[in-house]
Assembly symmetry: C2
Homo-oligomer: 206 residues x 2
């Protein structure tokens, strides 16, 4: 029987559940409840139960969720029970911070290379990486079979870089450039722009 | 007459509309349509019309939206027709990137100061800022009457820093720490964690 696809907004909450559960597990906790998870995350317990029930039965009435078991299942659902190689395009402040960030691998990702088009940056070191020439981007992606990329280039370059990435086979892009990028069907994009987050909050300020 | 509050998910789309309109205006454009906006943003034209109609009548049937007029209105609605001072807590890679970022002021924000608790960082320069001692955080916030803060500290410090900020009067927090933070009613938080964005996309990959 065909199943209806699960709404992306539900998928978007699963990483938050996973992150919170992993924090609990790191603190030595074994069992939690949708109430407790909800309080930590600012999401209602009913919503959490409903979201999780789309994927199976993970909790028991009255006893709650076994944290390790739920973590294992969420990692499988989100496909982060493996490690995804990824590349970073743009070796400015943000790109460099990403390349140096140590928190990816525990959570399913590994930066393999960083690229820039600035001759002054190409060949310099960032953490353990040497900045590559973005002219070689397409070839490298095909060679090492990478599906995930982060874009941290200035806005005016973002769409062009995107097209190059997609052409070479990238299927998921996290975009730090302050501009919306367009991708063809079958490629996923997530945008992260501090300004859009900030502007969403000032609406509520006096 | 009392009005129903507008859903936060609608508020969350307005900064995207504003950003896209500003890009169009920078390119010399005068008029756009919900169709065109929608294509650029991956949001349906009907959704855009519905969202905007909650705040007034900004377009004309058949002629579309005057870009400058809609920008002016969105900036007023989001209260970014003024400049909000903000502080950055955490002078690591991300905090430093934020402090150096030049794109805030055009869009309603201005970094006033950056803080850290590491004696090796306090007193050093990041762009045009000298890193302040986070011991003085509360006092400074009260003195210069700041409502907006960004947190870019390691996860284990984030909740404690949050409490200090809230106690001093901060009302909006953009959190870069990879952990959910809890705030009392009346304080807004937005989280930005590359891992939750990435994990939301791998669900769809093979």
């Amino acid at each position: 029987m065909d199943q209806k696809p699960i709404p992306d907004i539900v998928i978007g909450r699963l990483p938050l559940y996973l992150r919170e559960l992993q924090l609990m597990a790191n603190g030595g906790r074994m069992i939690t409840s949708s109430q407790e998870l909800g309080e930590h995350l600012g999401i209602s317990a009913a919503q959490i139960r409903k979201d999780l029930s789309q994927f199976g039965e993970f909790g028991k009435q009255g006893t709650g969720y076994e944290i390790d078991f739920l973590i294992e299942n969420l990692r499988q659902i989100l496909k982060v029970d493996r490690v995804w190689d990824m590349i970073v395009v743009g070796a400015g402040d943000i790109g460099s911070a990403i390349a140096r960030y140590q928190g990816f691998e525990d959570r399913g990702f590994k930066v393999k290379a960083i690229y820039d088009n600035d001759p002054k940056k190409i060949g310099t070191k960032i953490g353990s990486f040497v900045v590559n020439d973005s002219a070689n981007l397409g070839e490298d992606i095909r060679e090492i079979d990478i599906q995930v990329a982060m874009i941290a280039v200035p806005g005016p370059y973002a769409q062009k870089v995107t097209e190059k990435l997609v052409e070479a086979g990238i299927k998921a892009i996290l975009n730090y450039a302050p501009i919306s990028i367009n991708v063809p069907e079958g490629v996923r994009v997530q945008h992260t722009d501090p300004l859009t987050h900030l502007q969403r909050m000032t609406y509520y300020l006096d």
